[in-house]
Symmetry: C2
Subunit: 605 residues, 2 copies
């Protein structure tokens, strides 16, 4: 049992049957066909020789089949990690150099080690620091940069640039050098691939194919483009008219081994490897969870770290580059009927066979076709409606999103994602550092206490109650102090202050210190401090301190009891025939004023 936790293969392996084998085999053949052009294209995007892409699709798949916890996840090279690899390796050496390739291999090794360590120390929670808007913004911005960077292959020109602005300027400058045969092939591929993506599937269904079959065939669009591209270039000898082709790909399996250790380079790549690991993990887990939920299974995020870490490390020892679970290929794997990770292992065998036997046929494959498959794939990642949705839902989340997009486009992927993460953390802390407090009074004729800013309530002159709508911790402890001192300086009649805590889930040591300070200072000013509706776990913890002994007032199980004891007359007023209730007005203390939102049809608290 314990062992099966770390080797999920021990769980599904023994139950493996012939029927499952057939299903896995069919899925593997389909995924292999889809993965060959993808592997070549993403290697191109990463600035690596095409065989590196194939190598990254062999051993990692075998290893993931042993350690991975997802049944249908298909790992291998993906667009975003290819871009991040190019950015990181580009800081070490020039594209095309042996050092550049080595840097990509080291990134895979380092990323493998980082993911494995995170898995062993159960630190999967670190991925939670990447908020959804930041990840979504980062993927959108990366998609735009990737699409822009691949346009040079469609046009057959030699453009470049380190950010979107430079890339676009460079494309326009070199536009006159456009190679027309390349443009025709690239343009035709783009149009074909967009058409396949949008309209091929409905067409297939119209001629009678089932939904799954249609989906799978439509996904194989790039394969048709590849075959057509090879035939056109080879048939018309376009490679002699300036169309760049894939050329010779070594017909051998990758050598196993690690590059010689150079502490300087490894240290330089460590930060990039950490970012690659986190982004790859977040993407993969999200894909894995989607698939697992479909058949009521689940994946274990910490085991996924081990599976992906082992896969990435194995990519490194077999001359590959960082890999993770890909959305499109996993979906195809699932739709094609894969039942166990064995499908991934069979795919690995398929790619290995293709590497050895198929590469000569890919000699005339035009780079423009690969670039077109990349552009079509990444433009589907660009999610502008999501940006609009977040803008409508939360300005704070939108700020993190906008910063991520802007910095990624303008200053590169690594700075972009880092900015987003740091900003979203700071904004979260800022937001919780100014929590919602409400001065509450009794709703006439009921036992309920509600916000004076939203309801006409009966308020006592001598007993004031503040409801705290947030856990108390260091970032907002002083805000609570400010609020209480503000009330103290504005309400000379106050004799008792009740802090009503039904939504306080934690009180940390800083907040405890603040509560103690409030207690002491109120005491000096002749005001008694009480608490009401404190949660069980919070109370348990307070009982370990001297705070409750020093508290000038009491802890009440509920607010109604508190008012009954401290100001029975006021409670009687609330139950009288025509009680005098509060008028909506402005409170002298800003924190008790910021209602923020309008009352919403009765759901209001």
């Amino acid at each position: 049992m314990k062992l099966a936790k770390y080797f999920p293969i021990l769980d599904w392996g023994p139950k493996y049957r012939g029927e499952t084998f057939v299903n896995d085999m069919v899925a593997a053949v389909i995924v292999t066909i889809m993965l060959i052009p993808q592997s070549l294209a993403y290697a191109l995007l990463a600035g690596l020789p095409p065989e590196i892409g194939l190598y990254a699709s062999i051993l990692p798949l075998l290893v993931y089949a042993i350690f991975g916890s997802s049944r249908q996840l298909a790992v291998g090279p993906v667009a975003i990690l290819s871009l991040m690899t190019a950015a990181a390796a580009g800081k070490i050496a020039a594209q095309g150099s042996a050092e550049y390739i080595q840097a990509a291999v080291i990134l895979a090794l380092l990323s493998g080690v980082i993911l494995l360590a995170m898995g062993l120390f159960r630190m999967g929670f670190l991925a939670n620091f990447l908020s959804h808007p930041v990840v979504s913004a980062f993927i959108t911005a990366s998609g735009i940069i990737i699409a822009a960077s691949q346009m040079k292959h469609i046009l057959g020109i030699d453009a470049g640039g380190h950010n979107l602005f430079e890339i676009v300027v460079s494309l326009f400058e070199k536009l006159p050098e456009t190679n027309l045969p390349t443009l025709y092939i690239g343009g035709a591929s783009l149009i074909f691939l967009f058409w396949v993506r949008k309209q091929f599937k409905p067409l297939l269904k119209a001629i009678g194919l089932g939904d799954k079959a249609a989906t799978i065939i439509a996904r194989a669009g790039p394969v048709f483009a590849v075959v057509a591209g090879i035939l056109v270039v080879a048939g018309m000898g376009l490679d002699e008219r300036g169309v760049k082709i894939l050329g010779d790909v070594p017909q051998s399996l990758p050598a196993i081994g690690v590059p010689t250790f150079n502490a300087d380079i490894w240290m330089q790549l460590l930060g990039s490897a950490a970012l690659i690991s986190l982004i790859g993990f977040v993407e993969s887990v999200s894909v894995g969870q989607t698939l697992a939920a479909k058949n009521r299974t689940r994946i274990d995020p910490n085991q996924e770290l081990i599976g992906l870490g082992a896969a990435s490390f194995s990519a490194g020892v077999s001359s590959g580059y960082p890999v993770t679970g890909g959305l499109a290929r996993s979906a195809v794997n699932f739709d094609a009927g894969a039942e166990t990770p064995a499908a991934g292992a069979f795919t690995a065998v398929g790619i290995a066979l293709a590497t050895v036997f198929l590469t000569p046929f890919l000699f005339y494959l035009p780079q423009a076709v690969l670039a077109a498959t990349i552009i079509v794939a990444v433009l589907s990642l660009v999610d502008i409606p999501e940006v609009i949705k977040v803008w409508k839902y939360s300005k704070s989340d939108f700020a993190a999103m906008a910063a991520t997009i802007f910095v990624t486009l303008g200053f590169g992927v690594e700075l972009g994602v880092t900015t987003g993460v740091v900003l979203s953390l700071l904004l979260h802390l800022y937001n919780t550092s100014r929590p919602h407090f409400a001065l509450v009074g009794q709703l006439p004729g009921t036992h309920h206490f509600r916000n004076v800013n939203r309801h006409p309530v009966v308020l006592s002159d001598t007993v004031l109650t503040v409801r705290i709508d947030e856990s108390l911790y260091f970032a907002n402890a002083r805000f609570l102090e400010d609020t209480v001192y503000c009330m103290l300086s504005n309400r000379p009649d106050m004799k008792h202050l009740i802090l009503m805590c039904p939504a306080v889930n934690h009180i940390d040591a800083s907040a405890l210190e603040s509560l103690e300070a409030i207690n002491h200072r109120l005491k000096d000013a002749g005001v008694t401090l009480h608490l009401s509706e404190v949660k069980g776990p919070v109370m348990d913890r307070l009982q370990r301190t001297h705070f409750l002994d020093e508290l000038t007032g009491s802890v009440f199980l509920n607010q109604y009891e508190a008012m009954l004891e401290l100001d029975e007359d006021c409670v009687k007023t609330a139950f009288s025939r025509d009680p005098k209730t509060t008028e909506p007005g402005t409170d002298p203390c800003p924190s008790l004023r910021h209602a923020g939102l309008e009352p919403a049809n009765g759901r209001d608290r």
Copy 2:
């Protein structure tokens, strides 16, 4: 009105009366007497010539009187900032050099600008990032380092070191070189000052003095030590026997001006200046709030930033070094009856007069006496009971505290406080990323729903309810997903899932995304998702999205209504004579298992 907000002097100035003047004047005389030895001592601690300490106690006090929002806060050089100044300036130049003094002046200017900017942009909340345990740990560790570093003056030896370990080793190595006359003076001062601190006040009260008078006279202990020290050294000619004395202090007021701008040095000092600003602000605000609460007034933290920023900047333009509000001198100012910031202005005049007329008399003042006053002052900052208290209350807060103390002692003040801040933020995020979830059932015979792990409750087989005891945001959104998917894979009979949200104060965009994903995936698996007891502001916000339209189930005002509609039989069972309730057992999902704390006598939720 608007102007008075930024110039609090316009508020109290026009109401100034003769009686207030007398009270302020008395307080100013007392604070001046106390501040002279303090200013000299802290300059010594900062590695600066004595007059710099006096300069830092003139113009800043005048400026704070105009801009500060606290009525009784006394600003000037303090121990912690002196240590931090020494650490920062020591990175630029050697102690005693002109560049070192210039660095201290630049730190004051930079810190002034930073505080002013924070005040104008209302960024006082940044100080909240310094949790109480971190600040307390930092002050304790700084106190230990300061005390250790001053021992060389008590022994009359030339020791040094950059961390506690080095300082202690160096002290032991140089111990044989101890200068006996210095040791006698230093030791006697230490014993006298400790005695004054502990027993002089009770003695004064025993001979009939009032509490306040006794407090004030006891606080003047260092003055007696200074006078005695001068008389002994001058009388016995001890300066010729190796006792280091203050020597010549320029008998002039500071020149006004700023050092020539050198972008390199200013940039190098920027980080240190930011830390000095934050620490100084946190300390000063805490002192200011304590005093303000005593007479039911309050201070405005953002205006305090402006007051302290202007004071620090004015220290820079008058050859001083960073200043802030000091605890001891503010307490004396308050006890001595200061009523308005004018007392601070009168103190400034007093220090100016002392600088011009009194400094010749300080020629023979032994440094050992100043070191003794520092040691006695800072040892009162060392708060070991606080460390023990935090240990008992929260292991997470203690971890941040221990790291701060350890790094401050071992690697210096700046790294220490930075480590503490970063660690406390990470721990906070980690803690809220694994919030408390509870599977809840109906308490037999009531309308209440409680945690199955703490109460025998009636549970439905088809309708499961999870209570979420935390706001949902990016760091815990995936944890909620994990929990729901775990339930999904373990409970084949589940038809409805209710998320009960009475303690959910926010749902950010990431958590909304997770709720949408949960909704979709539950739908795929044939389970309906409902919400209950959603707070008003949260509901307002959800209504701006499509989530409520797409939600497969409903939003219920309260949990009882939800169960009544979804599983009436189960509710009937709960009200039947002998309902079958849950046995405490272990849940297959870890997040529903971690009760953490034992039930606490009925307060439990």
